[in-house]
C-alpha cells in the first residue's frame, strides 16, 4: 500500500533556525530519503515553496476564480510531501516519525493512503511510473 505523508510545520519556525540547526534538519531529511530509497519504499518526495507563493482556483459557473494564497489558512502550513510504499499503516507511522520537522519544532505529518483507481484509468498508472522515475 502506498501512503502520502503530508508535512505540516510553522513556516515562521524556519526563519528562527540557526544555520547549524538548518543544516542538521536538511541532513536528517536526506538520511530518511536515502534510507527509504535504499529499502525500496521511496515513490516520491518534494518540498514546497511557502504559502505566499500559492494560488487557488475555483469555478463559479463558467467563470474561473483565481485567488492568491493556499486553500486554507492553518496554524501550521503544508511544507512538502513523501509518497512511500509500506506494508501497512504501522510501517507508515514508523517512517513518518523519522521525518524531521523543523529540527523537532512544532509540526505534524498527516498520513493518507493512496486510492486505488479502476484499471481502465491507465493514465494514473502512467503517472505513477513518472513519479517512480
Amino acid at each position: 500500500m502506498k501512503y502520502m505523508m503530508l508535512i505540516y510545520r510553522n513556516e515562521q519556525d524556519l526563519d528562527a533556525l540557526t544555520p547549524e540547526q538548518k543544516q542538521r534538519t536538511v541532513g536528517a531529511t536526506w538520511a530518511v530519503i536515502d534510507e527509504a530509497k535504499r529499502r525500496g519504499v521511496l515513490v516520491g518526495v518534494s518540498p514546497l515553496e511557502r504559502i505566499s507563493a500559492a494560488t487557488t482556483i475555483r469555478h463559479d459557473g463558467d467563470k474561473v476564480l483565481v485567488s492568491d494564497g493556499p486553500f486554507a489558512e492553518t496554524k501550521e502550513q503544508l511544507a512538502g510531501y513523501y509518497i512511500l510504499a509500506c506494508q501497512d499503516l504501522d510501517e507508515a507511522i514508523a517512517w513518518a516519525s523519522k521525518i524531521p520537522i523543523c529540527g523537532g519544532g512544532r509540526g505534524c505529518i498527516e498520513i493518507r493512503p493512496l486510492r486505488e483507481l479502476p484499471a481502465r484509468e491507465s493514465l494514473f498508472e502512467r503517472q505513477d511510473a513518472a513519479v517512480n522515475a
Partner: protein
Amino acid sequence: MQFLLLIYDKEQRWSQGYDPKEMAEYGQFGNQFAGAIKGGNALQPTGTAKTVRVRGGKQLTTDGPFAETKEQLGGFYLIDVKNIEEAVAIAASIPAARYGSVEVRPILVFAKSETSAAD
C-alpha cells in the same frame, strides 16, 4: 518549473465511488496535458488518515487529517510547466475545480549544496 496541484473537494461527492463520466473527463484531462503531468494520485477519504507528531522524542498518533476543512484533500497532480500562468490554466481544467478548489504550489528547489544526497 514544477507545481503541485492540490485538489480539495467534498469527499462525500464520491463516497459511493467515482462517477464514470467524471473519470472519463479525468482521462481526457490527462491526455490533453500528458506532456506536463509528471505524477498524480487519488487519496483515500480523510477517515483513513492518521496524523503523527513527535514531541520530546515521544510519538503521538491521532486519527484523522491534520485539519478539518469544508472540502478535503482528495488527490494531486505534479506538473512541469513554463510558469504559474500555465499551471493555473491546467488547474482550472481539472474537473474537480468546478466543484471544489485546486491549490497551486510551486515546488521548492534546494540549493545545490543542500542536495548532495539527491539523484
